[in-house]
Amino acid sequence: MPQTPYPWWRYALLLGLFAGCSKEKMDAMVNTVKDQANAIASNPTIAKVLPATGNVQLAMTPPVSTTAAYVKIHKIGDGRPNVVHFTSYEPTGGPNQFPAILVRGITTANEVAELAGKNVAASVYVQTKSGASVYRTRPGDVIEMSISPPVADKNTVAATLPGFTLYDPQGQPMVVSQMTWEAVP
C-alpha cells in the first residue's frame, strides 16, 4: 500500500510539542515553518532541485509500490567492503515504515554517484505491512541489481532488479517479476 506523505513541518511542530513549548511559541513556530515551506516551494530554482521522494515499484500480483525510496552507502572504513542499502524507509529509522523494502549488497563504491552503471549482487527483504510476513531471498541466493547511469536534472538513482522469488518464514514464495527503484541519496 502506498504511504500518504506527511507534511514535514508537522514533524517540526510535534518536536516543539515534545520540547515543551508554549502555545504562543508553537503558533509562531508553525508560521515560520509554513513560511519557509512556502518560500521553498515558490522558489523555482530550489523547487527544481528539491529532492523527489523517490519510489520503488514491485511488479507482482497485486503490485506493490511506495512513494519514498532512499539509497545509502555504509562505509565501515576499517578495510571491510562497503554496503549499499536501497530502502523504502528512511535509512536511519530502521524498517518501520511500510511497505518496508530493503535491497542490500556489497559494493566497492564509496559514494552513491559511483554506483551508476554498476551491478550489485543483492539480497532482498520485503514486508508489506506491519506484522505481515517477512519475505527474503534464501540464504546464498543473490539477485543482480543494475544501477542506471545518471540522468540529467534528476537526483535520484534508478535501479532495476529482474524477476526473482522471495520466501516467507514458512517457505511460501512471493514472485516478483521486476523491481524498479528511484531512490534518493
Binding site: H74, L102, R104, S133, P139, D168
Partner: protein, 625 residues
C-alpha cells in the same frame, strides 16, 4: 542411530552434569537404577548404596517365595523365612528414614520401595496363615505372647527410662524389641494384635524421640557448614575486582592466579569463571536449604507419627527466597565488575590497541551473556564499551557505521524468525510434554495427578523405579508417534563439548547433541554480517547472529524426546557440579512451587533429537544424520 545417540548423551551427562556415581538415577532405558545422593552428610552415599542393595536382595527373596506359591501353592511357605523377611524389611525401612534425615530424597524413594515390599510380604504371610502349618504357628504365638507380656512391659519401661540419658542404647534396645515384634505381629489376626503392641510402640517412640532431634541437629550442622562453604562471598569478589582493576588502570595488565601481565579481556574471563563458581554454589545452597526445610517439616516416615514442634527445626530453617536475593546480589556485583574492568582498561590503553581490545571484549561479553542475565550485561557494558571505542575516534566511527550497515538485516531476520517460531505455537514445550506423559493414569503411577488444570510440582508417590518404568515407557511411546517438542534456551556446554544443555524450567531440563550450522549457511551468514577471518563483528547483536549458530547456542530447538531420566529436585541442586550449573541461567536459582516437603519433589531430564534450531535471527534445519 538413536540408541547410539542416547547412550552418548547419558555418558556425557554423567560427566558434565553431576558429581554423582555412574549408576545413579532411573532412566527410560534402565528404570531400575536407584536415585542418586548428594552425599552432603558423610555416610549418606554408602548408606543409600547398602539400602538399595538390601532392597534388591529382599525383592529377590520375596519373588522367590511368590513364585513358590504360584508353582506349589501356599504350602510352600514356612514361618522362618517370612519372619526374617518381615524383620529385615522393617530394619531397612528404618534405615531409609535415617537417610531421609540426612536430607537425602533417596531415603524417601527407599521408604516407598520398602513399603511396597512390606505389603507384598504381608500378602504372603496372609496366605501362609491360611495353611494348616500357619494356623498351628498362630496358635503357638497366641499361647506364648501372654507369658512374655510382663517381660516385654519391663523391657519397654527400661527403654523409656534411658531414652533421655542414653539415647543410643535406648535405640539399640528398641531395635531389638522391634525385631521381636516382627516375629509375631503379622502372624496373628489383626483384632488380637492391639493387646500386645503398646509396649513395643511406646519403646520405639521413646527411642525415636530421643535420637531423631539429635540426628536432625547433626545433619543441620553439616548442612549449615555446607551452605557457608558454597555461598559466594561478595566482599571477596569486590576486593579482587578492586585489586585487578587498580592494576589494569595503571599498566593495562593485572596479576591473576599467579600469572602476571594478564590483559583486561583475560581478567574478564577470570571474573566469569569466578561468577560461574559462585552461581553453581548458589544452586547447591538452594538444594541444601530445601533439604533443611524438608527436615523441619518431616515426620517419621516409618512410625507414622509426627513429632511436636519443639523437635522440629522449622523456626531456624532459612526461607529459600533468600537464595534468589543472594543470586541477584551476586549477579549485580559480577556484572558491575565487567563494566569496571573495561573502564579500567580504557584508562591506560593506547589508541592503536583500541580496535583489537574492543572486539575481544565484545566477543567475551557475547559469550558470557549466553550464560544468563544477558540484558543486564549488555546494558551495563554498553557505556564502557562505547568509551573504549571512543578513545580511537576513527574506530568509533567504524563501529557506528557497522551497526547501521547490519541493523536492518538483523531486524528483518529477527522478525522473520519470530514469525517462523509461530509455526510451532501448537508444539508442546518440554514441560507440557513431560507433564502429560508423566501423569498418573488409573492405577499406573505418575508424577502428576490424572486430571488437573493447575500446574503442579512433580511429586513422587510410588517408588522411583516403578514410576520410571511407567512414565519412561510412555515417553518412548509418545516419541515413537513422533510429536516434536519445543525446548527453549539451549546452550553449548563448552566449545569442545558434544552436547548443548536445555536450561532448567519449572521441573525439566535437558540436553541435545551439539549441532552447529552447516558450513554453507555459516559462510553466507558471515558475509551478511560483513565478517571474515580479518574482520570481526563490531556489535554484540551481530556477534550473537554469527557465533550462536556456529557455536550451537539456540533460542529454541524443536525435536522429539528420545530418552528421559528421573532425578530428585533436592539432589539435582544440592549435588550440582560447577560445570552442570550451566542448566540454570546465571542470575537465577530455581524457586519452590510447593509449600510441602521437597523430599518427594522430582525433576525430569530429557534428551532431544533436534529437527530445527532457532537463534534470534535464524531458523536452521538440523543436518541429516
Amino acid at each position: 542411530m538413536k540408541v547410539h545417540f542416547t547412550g552418548l548423551m547419558i555418558a556425557l551427562f554423567v560427566t558434565c552434569f553431576s558429581n554423582q556415581p555412574v549408576a545413579a538415577n532411573p532412566t527410560s532405558a534402565d528404570p531400575s537404577k536407584p536415585l542418586a545422593t548428594h552425599n552432603t552428610f558423610p555416610g549418606a552415599a554408602p548408606l543409600a548404596e547398602k539400602l538399595y542393595g538390601e532392597f534388591e536382595s529382599l525383592l529377590a527373596a520375596i519373588e522367590k517365595l511368590e513364585n513358590g506359591v504360584k508353582a506349589k501353592g501356599a504350602d510352600s511357605l514356612s514361618y522362618k523365612p517370612l519372619a526374617t523377611l518381615k524383620s529385615n524389611i522393617n530394619q531397612s525401612h528404618r534405615g531409609s528414614d535415617r537417610l531421609t534425615m540426612m536430607g537425602e530424597p533417596a531415603g524417601y524413594d527407599l521408604y516407598l520401595r520398602f513399603h511396597v515390599l512390606a505389603h507384598r510380604t504381608n500378602l504372603l504371610v496372609l496366605s501362609f496363615m491360611n495353611t494348616r502349618q500357619g494356623q498351628v504357628m498362630t496358635q503357638k504365638i497366641l499361647t506364648q505372647l501372654p507369658r512374655r507380656a510382663v517381660a516385654t512391659q519391663r523391657a519397654s519401661e527400661k527403654v523409656i527410662a534411658m531414652a533421655s540419658s542414653q539415647p543410643a542404647e535406648a535405640e539399640a534396645a528398641a531395635d531389638k524389641m522391634s525385631i521381636e515384634r516382627d516375629s509375631w505381629e503379622n502372624f496373628i489376626p489383626i483384632d488380637q494384635r492391639g493387646a500386645y503392641t503398646p509396649p513395643y510402640a511406646e519403646a520405639r517412640e521413646a527411642a525415636d524421640r530421643a535420637m531423631r532431634p539429635q540426628r536432625i541437629a547433626d545433619a543441620r550442622k553439616v548442612f549449615d557448614e555446607a551452605i557457608a562453604t558454597n555461598l559466594p562471598s561478595i566482599n571477596e569478589l569486590n576486593r579482587w575486582v578492586d585489586e585487578v582493576t587498580g592494576q589494569l588502570r595503571v599498566t593495562g595488565n593485572a596479576s591473576v592466579e599467579g600469572k602476571v601481565d594478564v590483559g583486561g579481556v583475560e581478567v574478564m574471563e577470570e571474573l566469569s569463571r569466578r561468577w560461574g563458581i559462585g552461581h553453581a554454589g548458589l544452586q547447591r545452597v538452594q538444594g541444601l536449604r530445601w533439604a533443611i526445610q524438608s527436615h523441619a517439616n518431616a515426620t517419621s516416615l516409618t512410625s507414622g507419627s509426627s513429632y511436636p514442634s519443639s523437635y522440629s527445626t522449622s523456626s531456624q530453617a532459612a526461607p529459600s527466597d533468600d537464595t534468589s536475593l543472594e543470586a541477584d546480589a551476586w549477579t549485580a556485583v559480577a556484572v558491575v565488575a565487567m563494566a569496571k574492568i573495561i573502564a579500567a582498561d580504557t584508562e591506560s590503553i593506547t589508541i592503536e590497541k583500541v580496535p583489537a581490545a574492543h572486539q575481544r571484549y565484545l566477543s567475551a561479553i557475547a559469550g558470557i551473556a549466553t550464560l544468563g542475565s544477558s540484558d543486564l550485561i549488555i546494558a551495563k557494558t554498553d557505556e564502557p564499551l562505547k568509551r573504549l571505542a571512543a578513545k580511537n575516534p576513527a574506530y568509533a566511527e567504524s563501529v557506528s557505521a557497522y551497526e547501521s550497515a547490519t541493523a536492518d538485516v538483523l531486524e528483518f531476520d529477527r522478525r522473520a524468525t519470530q514469525q517462523a517460531s509461530m509455526t510451532w505455537t501448537s508444539t508442546k514445550s518440554v514441560d507440557q510434554f513431560v507433564r502429560e506423559a508423566a501423569r498418573s493414569v488409573g492405577v499406573s503411577p505418575g508424577l502428576f495427578p490424572e486430571s488437573s488444570t493447575v500446574p503442579l510440582a512433580a511429586t513422587l508417590s510410588y517408588p522411583a523405579d516403578e514410576t520410571m518404568r511407567v512414565i519412561g515407557a510412555r515417553i518412548t511411546d509418545a516419541t515413537s508417534s513422533s510429536p516434536p517438542v519445543m525446548a527453549e534456551n539451549v546452550i553449548r556446554i563448552a566449545p569442545s563439548s558434544r552436547s548443548s544443555a536445555v536450561t532448567y524450567a519449572i521441573r525439566t531440563y535437558g540436553t541435545i547433541p551439539a549441532v552447529t550450522c552447516p558450513e554453507p549457511w555459516n559462510r553466507w551468514n558471515r558475509e551478511q554480517m560483513l565478517v571474515s577471518d580479518a574482520f570481526q563483528p563490531l556489535t554484540i547483536t551481530a556477534l550473537h547472529a554469527v557465533s550462536n549458530p556456529a557455536m550451537g547456542n539456540y533460542a529454541m530447538v524443536i525435536g522429539p524426546v528420545v530418552s528421559a531420566q528421573l532425578e530428585s529436585l533436592i539432589t539435582r541442586f544440592a549435588g550440582m557440579s560447577d560445570a552442570g550449573a550451566i542448566i540454570v541461567p546465571r542470575g537465577t536459582v530455581p524457586t519452590s512451587d510447593t509449600e510441602s516437603s521437597m523430599m518427594n519433589q522430582m525433576v525430569i531430564r530429557v534428551d532431544i533429537d533436534p529437527m530445527f534450531m532457532l537463534t534470534e535471527t535464524a531458523v536452521i534445519n538440523a543436518p541429516a544424520k
